[in-house]
């Protein structure tokens, strides 16, 4: 069951590192720290009419964390603050076993993380950081 965690899809997603980097002049930047493993995610966002126009992330973290950040890098454009918060809740629900079809197809590859409650935070950290970054940008 453990090995299911690291299927090709998740490895490829992590390695794609979509969206990795920094933005030159972000409207908002947030940093997420995982207190227990020391992992760190930084996310820069630029907004246009309250929606994400550009996004970049830097991740010091595990494959799960990097894969989650890459999924965000691929799909986050166009989200507003409320949608980012909702997305975070949706991913948490997916990890807890909810059956609804996920917003993005890539999120399905996190289903094998379900039984490993101690790894849920690895997946959620980038989504937390995304939510915080948009909030900061929108609050400016």
């Amino acid at each position: 069951m453990n090995e299911d965690l690291y299927q090709q899809a998740i490895l490829d997603l992590a390695k794609s590192a979509d969206g990795a980097g920094r933005l030159a002049a972000p409207d908002g930047t947030a940093q997420g720290d995982s207190p227990l493993c020391g992992d760190r995610v930084r996310m820069d966002v630029k907004l246009d009419g309250g929606r994400i126009a550009a996004l970049a992330h830097e991740v010091k973290g595990c494959l799960l964390c990097r894969a989650a950040a890459a999924a965000i890098g691929r799909h986050a454009a166009g989200l507003d603050a409320a949608q980012a918060a909702e997305l975070r809740a949706e991913v948490a629900a997916l990890l807890s076993g909810a059956d609804a079809a996920p917003a993005w197809p890539e999120l399905k590859c996190f289903e094998p993380v379900r039984p490993h409650r101690n790894r849920h935070g690895c997946v959620l950290l980038p989504f937390d950081t995304l939510r915080d970054a948009i909030e900061k940008a929108a609050g400016r």
Binding site: D33, P35, L36, G38, H116, R117, N118, G121
Partner: protein, 404 residues
């Protein structure tokens, strides 16, 4: 639901191992229930690991069990969330946590209200806080029957009051505190409320939502669970407002040599490896207790305590420390026999296989209030029977014969 004390006894292995024992020292420590013992055994022998994000199966199991214990404690207290449950090493540690984390936000001249019925564990930490911060302590006095005298509550809980810390029930008199006016007075003053539940939780589930307190503390070992574990419940908003108390592993956000950020509650208050197996067993005990027929059990212990009060009342030279009737009180009965020191009485009772405790019961201000050095205390649990009460009464008559 029906209740049989004899059946209930079957859940307490020590009592089976000591068939002649009349254990009436439950206010000091309850006997360990089988649910808790089995949980310790299961945990230690199949899933022992440190908590905090181990990524192997054993550690996942230990983590899950520890977090389940939090939910079980929250359910027993009717807390809004498991995150309001902080595991500590006991009531004393829980109260000291508040006395530091909350107490150190107070200023000279701020007031903390206690009662004269407090156990030393809910008195000394505040005296120490007074030494550190210059706060003033004010005391709710006791009526002659040991109940809190709430007549002049508004003079005691002044606008300078920042915290009211009172026991839910006295470990000496058994009197249950009338918390409604106390909480109202605290709220009117804008003060927080800490309730010492060390004597209460073993008499049935508690509803912290209904109490409307901010903090509630209790110990595992008095609730038929292991030593070395207790709970500080705190209202989410009250916990979130507190800085940490102890520093160490597990309670941090990020640490550098220069500075440190802290985790959210409850972890912020759980520095170091927590009492994992003990918490798991406490959760199991509370879960089991929650499903018990408490109404019938309370009727049973009330009947026994009444039998004890009646039996004592006819002994020559007897004085009670506490209410004589069984309303708004627990089955804890403290008393003295003229001319007989509590320890001598207890020693003779031991020869009758009756286990009761004599002394000041860590409540010297209460003893002072009644002008005594100590008392004999019999404290009942649902596994006690009429035979236990009668053995105590017989033993006391024997002590009066022998020691006079």
């Amino acid at each position: 639901m029906k209740f049989s004390a004899h059946e209930w006894r079957g859940h307490f292995p020590l009592l089976a191992n000591h068939p002649r024992l009349h254990y009436l020292d439950n206010a000091a420590t309850g006997q360990l229930c089988a649910a808790a013992f089995d949980a310790v055994t299961h945990h230690e022998l199949t899933q022992r690991a440190n908590v905090l994000r181990g990524t192997y199966k054993l550690a996942e199991a230990a983590d899950a069990a520890y977090e389940q214990a939090r939910r079980q404690a929250a359910a027993y207290l009717n807390a809004a969330s498991a995150d309001e449950v902080v595991f500590t090493s006991g009531t004393t540690a829980a109260i000291n946590l508040v006395a530091h984390a909350f107490g150190d936000t107070l200023q000279a001249g701020d007031e903390v209200v206690l009662s004269l019925a407090e156990h030393h564990s809910n008195l000394v930490p505040w005296q120490m806080l007074r030494g550190r911060r210059g706060v003033a302590l004010r005391f709710i006095r006791l009526a002659d029957d040991g109940r809190l005298d709430l007549a002049r509550l508004d003079e005691i809980v002044t606008p300078r009051c920042r915290l009211v810390a009172v026991t839910h029930a006295s470990n000496v008199t058994g009197a249950v505190s009338d918390l409604v006016p106390i909480v109202a007075a605290a709220r009117a003053a804008g003060a927080r409320v800490l309730v010492d539940g060390a004597q209460m939780v073993q008499h049935g589930p508690v509803d912290v939502a209904a109490l409307d307190a901010d903090f509630y503390a209790f110990s595992g070992h008095k609730a038929f669970a292991p030593n070395g574990v207790g709970v500080l419940w705190g209202r989410a908003e009250a916990l979130a407002a507190l800085p940490p108390f102890l520093g160490g592993g597990g309670m941090i956000g990020r640490v550098t040599a220069e500075e440190t950020t802290y985790a959210a509650p409850p972890r912020r208050f759980e520095a170091g490896t927590p009492p994992i197996a003990q918490a798991v067993a406490l959760g199991a005990a509370l879960d089991w207790l929650r499903a018990q027929p408490w109404e019938a059990m309370r009727a049973h212990t009330t009947h026994l305590a009444q039998r004890l009060l009646d039996g004592l009342a006819v002994l020559p030279g007897l004085t009670f420390l506490g209410p004589r009737e069984m309303t708004e009180r627990l089955p804890i009965v403290a008393f003295n026999l003229a001319g007989i020191h509590p320890h001598d009485a207890c020693q003779v009772l031991d020869a009758h296989h009756v286990a009761v405790r004599g002394g000041h019961h860590c409540a010297q201000p209460l003893m002072d209030r009644f002008g005594v050095e100590g008392a004999v205390r019999a404290s009942l649990a649902p596994y006690n029977t009429e035979a236990d009460v009668d053995a105590l009464l017989e033993g006391l008559k024997d002590a009066q014969r022998k020691l006079k």
